[in-house]
């Protein structure tokens, strides 16, 4: 408690909200872009975390959901002039449907650990190859989304500030979902599944249904992220939507920040995001160097901080 009786934590949140609202107006456009990317990957990481972190079902192919969301809203907009806001929901539902397909197949046949990871990767690759060969998806050319100028109803704006607030709201939403899962029965059940499936069954956890629930929620949310990406860059193609790189970018942040925790993915995103930008800035001439640095960080984190940065911080807190 502070002197005037207002809890410190309220000050903290008030300050955070104020900074989040003012930041895009005060920062130069490039930094707003960096912030957007941090929130965007924090959002995707949190979505992945529900399945990969909480339920312990490591997906190596989350780009599948991401790409389905991106292509669904884009195709609906380009072909039928349906606003991407509605397309986003359609994409989310398709992401869920894909989750239902992957989940019911993999979990029914009891694929666990690396086998599940490979199966998700196979689905993402399958979708990449399909989108690379279909006329509908523009093959390797991808799809260019027609410019509408300042058209918030079409999920487009010339200012980055618009996108900043969209992704900020999406991020707060996904954080709220993660907290809701973390603090209740679902979180306990998913943790039980992650720890020991037999034990979980023995105490009444329907492991199949709860894993399916996790992949449905995760698939839905990740697909929404796909639409945001498409509208922000206004161009999508198969490698960037369904590619392995995207899958890796999605799960890197929760691993570095702390899997199965509410704040892990965003911490990871705040660490890796600026780092990626800086290395790209300094070593821009050498393509792919930032990926090498990512790799080194990943190895370091897995060896020295197996519970991620958040896990490390909370263990420090416990010691004091």
């Amino acid at each position: 408690m502070s002197r005037n009786g207002i809890p410190k934590v309220l000050f903290f949140w008030f300050g955070l909200i104020l900074i989040s609202i003012l930041a895009p107006f005060l920062l130069p456009s490039y930094f707003v872009h960096v912030l957007i990317m941090i929130l965007f990957y924090g959002y995707l990481g949190t979505s992945w975390n529900i399945l990969g972190g909480y339920a312990g079902q490591f997906s190596f192919g989350h780009a599948a959901f991401f790409g389905v969301g991106a292509y669904a809203s884009t195709l609906a907009f380009v072909n039928w002039n349906i606003t991407p806001w509605i397309g986003m929901v359609l994409g989310g539902l398709l992401g869920m449907l894909l989750g239902l397909l992957i989940g019911s197949l993999c979990f029914h046949y009891g694929l666990r650990g690396p086998y599940f990871a490979l199966a998700t990767l196979a689905f993402a690759e399958l979708l990449r190859l399909i989108s690379l060969n279909l006329d509908l998806t523009g093959k390797a050319m991808g799809i260019l989304i027609p410019l509408k100028g300042n058209a918030p109803l079409s999920f487009q704006h010339e200012s980055k500030i618009f996108y900043y607030f969209v992704i900020l709201l999406m991020f707060i939403g996904v954080l709220w979902v993660a907290r809701w899962i973390d603090t209740g029965k679902i979180g306990d059940y998913l943790a039980a599944i992650r720890e020991d499936e037999d034990s979980a069954e023995a105490i009444g956890v329907n492991t199949f249904s709860y894993k399916l629930l996790a992949i449905l929620i995760s698939g839905f949310l990740t697909a929404l992220g796909g639409t945001f990406y498409a509208q922000y860059f206004l161009y999508i193609d198969p490698p960037v939507t369904f590619g392995v790189d995207t899958s890796i970018e999605i799960f890197l942040r929760p691993i570095v920040g702390g899997m199965g925790t509410v704040y892990g993915p965003i911490i990871g995103s705040f660490v890796l995001g600026p780092l990626g930008e800086v290395t790209r800035g300094i070593l821009g001439g050498y393509h792919g160097v930032h990926l090498m640095i990512y790799g080194a960080i990943l190895v370091g984190v897995i060896i020295f901080l197996p519970n991620g940065i958040y896990g490390w911080l909370s263990s420090l807190k416990k010691k004091h």
């Binding site: 039980a192 069954e201 023995a202 009444g204």
Partner: protein, 241 residues
């Protein structure tokens, strides 16, 4: 009506008959001891009852309701709780959260779940360690936790698979007291145990298995004097005291 009724139950693994046409009943509120040499099919019977393995033939009824074909979590919901011979706590979760997860079997209100978990941890003697990670507990602690977690699902029927093996005499004594208290709470129990002193103390009735078949059944004293049981399991030098 018997609490649990098992008829003609069989399970084979390849050519091995692990459980061979076993039939028995457990009365309401009874403690039934299940003994037999290693590999005689005791744990397999538990796996069949709790749904972790499907039986080849036979039927299992809990208070007249068939359990065959149900998944383990469904059987848990019907009111059968089990512990594992090799304890399986959730090692990276706190002791408290281990139990709370099981409390959610009968409700989803978190504050109530926390209260129930605390009182169960107090009952098994783990309350002071509730915030530690389950993986850091001693074997005795993990067995107590397994029991608490099992009770948290509010079973009517309990399958205890060697909950006292590996404990020291003091810990064993505490565990025996717990088992007897649980029965006094109206829960029917089947106990698998190798230590004869324990099984003779806690059981109302004993079933002896050998190569998947029941070779003797009766009060502890009768079973201990049965020539077949002495020959196949207890050994000639065993004297029931």
């Amino acid at each position: 009506m018997p609490s649990l009724k098992i008829e003609n139950l069989s399970k084979s693994f390849g050519g091995l008959m692990a459980v061979n046409h076993v039939t028995f009943e457990v009365g309401e509120g009874e403690i039934l001891g299940l003994i037999g040499p290693n590999g005689s099919g005791k744990t397999t019977i538990f796996n069949l009852i709790s749904g972790f393995l499907p039986p080849d033939t036979g039927s299992i009824y809990l208070r007249g309701e068939s359990l065959v074909g149900l998944k383990p979590h469904q059987i848990c919901k019907k009111g059968i709780g089990r512990t594992f011979q090799i304890v399986k706590p959730f090692p990276h979760l706190s002791v408290m959260r281990n139990v709370r997860t099981a409390v959610f079997n009968r409700g989803k209100e978190i504050n109530q779940a926390n209260r129930q978990s605390e009182s169960l941890l107090e009952f098994v003697g783990l309350w002071s360690r509730r915030n530690e990670l389950a993986g850091s507990l001693t074997l005795a602690g993990r067995k107590q936790l397994e029991l608490a977690r099992c009770l948290a699902t509010q079973p009517k029927f309990l399958l205890l698979d060697e909950v006292m093996a590996g404990l020291n005499p003091v810990e064993q004594k505490q565990m025996i007291e717990l088992v007897i208290k649980i029965r006094e709470g109206g829960i029917t129990i089947i106990v698998i145990e190798h230590t004869m002193r324990i099984i003779m103390t806690v059981s109302d009735r004993i079933l002896v298995l050998c190569f998947g078949e029941i070779i003797a059944e009766g009060a502890p004293r009768e079973v201990a004097q049965d020539p077949d049981v002495i020959k196949s399991y207890l050994g000639e030098k065993y004297r029931f005291v």
